[in-house]
């Protein structure tokens, strides 16, 4: 289907669900429907969004990536350690953060390549390959951290991680990225966390890659019919290696962002997001059998979960109730996929 709007409407049950959620939490949770409330949803949603986008690439090819959470944790530690080391070596805070980010994304590609080769070349089932890779990465993370949190990350990291795109202070007008200096007690309005902007850019690139390019088309073909893809001259081994590396890249990026936001590295930083990431992809209309799914749908799925999480928390509901809700949503989504596939699967 050509109109993104049309494709969204084809999955309108998910959109309606999101609207319903927003309505319920606006009534139940004080301060939910406000500039702050929405920004909190987005801020907490960045990790989930990036991991779910990573997962979308793999699920489209008919696999599943169980390593994204561990990879995110690994990236928080690697980036924190790198950043601190570069800073100690005398580099400026900005340069050490930049180099640490690039370095972490590069290092993160290695486990992605490992999973990709196992799945693509050696035909290891995806859940086994990625779970093993995830385990190795988790172990390395624990070794690296050695029980002590990464220290001496330059303060600039914290400032970047918690900055906003736009600020508005009375009498000072708008300013971009830098918080205006104001007297104590003066309220500064903040618009759109910078990390949300960064996330949106990368998720946008992911959506473009999957939807508009030959690379994306071949990923769908591999997920739909491996034999057909092979007979059409596609090299599934090489393609799958690239897909798992892209997944790893998104997971690592979410780790770097986490490090900037919380200025620390934690091996299990991403573990709790794994189930949510998979559920977000499925709610977004992807099929766990492969070949079907879009980043647009995944964004919708991730928003539903982020609103649920934040909304329940702001309404004062215990967070374990969220898991029950997530489980129920997953069952609903899978049932719709199973019994009314024409609702979401007729056109691509």
């Amino acid at each position: 289907m050509q109109h993104p709007l049309g494709r969204f409407l084809a999955r309108r049950w998910a959109l309606l669900f999101l609207a319903l959620e927003l309505a319920v939490f606006s009534i139940a949770g004080r301060g939910f429907l406000s500039l702050n409330g929405i920004q909190i949803v987005l801020f907490y949603g960045t990790s989930l969004l990036l991991l779910a986008t990573a997962e979308t690439f793999v699920i489209v090819t008919g696999g599943i990536d169980l390593s994204v959470g561990y990879l995110m944790g690994f990236a928080t530690i690697v980036s924190a350690k790198l950043c601190a080391a570069l800073f100690r070596a005398g580099l400026s805070p900005a340069l050490s953060i930049l180099l640490a980010t690039v370095g972490t994304l590069g290092i993160g590609l290695v486990p992605g390549l490992l999973s990709g080769l196992l799945v693509g070349r050696l035909k290891v089932p995806a859940f086994l390959a990625t779970f093993s890779t995830g385990g190795i990465v988790y172990g390395i993370s624990a070794l690296l951290i050695g029980g002590v949190a990464a220290k001496e990350v330059p303060l600039l990291a914290n400032a970047i991680g918690n900055s906003y795109l736009l600020y508005w202070a009375p009498g000072r007008g708008l300013s971009l990225f830098s918080r205006p200096e104001v007297a104590r007690g003066v309220h500064v309005l903040e618009f759109v966390p910078s990390m949300v902007v960064l996330t949106a850019v990368f998720v946008g690139i992911g959506a473009w890659l999957l939807r508009r390019t030959r690379f994306g088309r071949h990923a769908y073909a591999i997920g739909g019919n491996l034999d057909a893809a092979t007979r059409a001259g596609i090299n599934p081994g090489r393609h799958l290696a690239a897909v798992y590396m892209i997944s790893a890249l998104f997971a690592s990026l979410s780790g770097v962002i986490y490090m900037l936001e919380y200025v620390t590295g934690k091996a299990d930083a991403g573990v709790s997001f794994l189930l949510d990431a998979i559920v977000a992809v499925v709610i977004g209309g992807a099929s766990l059998y492969g070949g079907i799914g879009t980043v647009g749908g995944t964004v919708l799925g991730a928003l539903i979960l982020a609103v649920l999480e934040t909304g329940l928390r702001m309404a004062g509901v215990q967070t374990f109730d969220k898991f029950i809700a997530v489980g129920l949503i997953l069952i609903l989504a899978v049932l719709i996929d199973r019994f009314f596939p024409e609702l979401i699967h007729k056109e691509d």
């Binding site: 073909a221 019919n225 057909a228 007979r231 001259g233 699967h345």
Partner: protein
């Protein structure tokens, strides 16, 4: 006039089993040859040798009068020898144009820079080739999964034709189709024939084979046991040859 495609003395063994024993056959341009035989007669193995899936132990393949080596399915495709398998080899999650152009997508520059899929071009070209073969698909944007068996068959044929197949091998093209769709597929086969394409049809449906084939080649236990012009034989004789009730060579 020489054959468009000719195989001479093909032998294919799997361990101790000889699946194809010294089989020769030729197909002219614009001719439909029906390949018949019971299960295990060696038909599928023979066509897999021609389409590059299995290498033959012995024998030669000549295409357009020249001896060729077909070492892989891609080598066969590059020569213009297309095989339409029973399972169709379509990606059911993609739509018709995506399948016709799979692996050979047309690209354009996005913002003058990055290569992206040119979906409009692929859609209009698909429409053209469907019209050429007189095939109707309700919506080109529907996934293949939403199409009927006959429509899928048609898409697979269009894919071959668009990429200028000179020779098409069809494995059970009418199996699992409704009556109207079987007729439509047979019409398409006749149309392909009129375009000068050489065709081998494998089928268990005696009626279909008699409806389209000019010549029949019958195999039994890996050997070619008979060759008949369709107009000079009848289903009874052919069934006899398939099951080996008569020993006519």
């Amino acid at each position: 006039m020489g054959y468009l495609l000719e195989v001479r003395n093909i032998v294919k063994r799997f361990g101790g089993l000889t699946a194809v024993k010294d089989v020769s056959l030729g197909v002219n341009a614009g001719e439909v040859v029906g390949l018949l035989g019971d299960n295990g007669a060696g038909k599928s193995t023979l066509i897999k040798v021609i389409s590059g899936v299995y290498p033959a132990e012995e024998g030669r393949i000549l295409f357009q009068g020249r001896e060729v080596q077909i070492n892989s399915p891609l080598a066969a495709l590059a020569m213009g020898i297309e095989t339409i398998y029973q399972d169709l080899a379509l990606a059911e999650n993609l739509n018709t144009p995506a399948n016709i152009f799979l692996g050979r997508e047309r690209l354009k520059r996005w913002l003058g820079l990055l290569p992206v899929l040119d979906n409009e071009y692929m859609q209009s070209e698909s429409r053209k080739v469907l019209a050429k073969l007189d095939i109707e698909i309700p919506s080109l944007r529907n996934r293949i999964r939403a199409l009927s068996g006959g429509q899928r068959q048609a898409v697979a044929i269009c894919r071959s034709i668009y990429w200028e197949a000179r020779f098409i091998i069809m494995d059970e093209p009418t199996a699992a189709l409704g009556v109207a769709e079987q007729r439509k597929v047979l019409d398409t086969v006749r149309l392909l024939k009129s375009h000068g394409i050489g065709i081998i049809v494998i089928s268990h449906q005696m009626h279909d084979v008699f409806a389209v084939a000019d010549r029949l080649v019958i195999m039994r236990r890996g050997e070619k046991v008979a060759e008949r012009l369709t107009r000079e034989t009848n289903p009874d004789e052919v069934v006899g040859l398939i099951v080996g009730a008569e020993t006519v060579v």
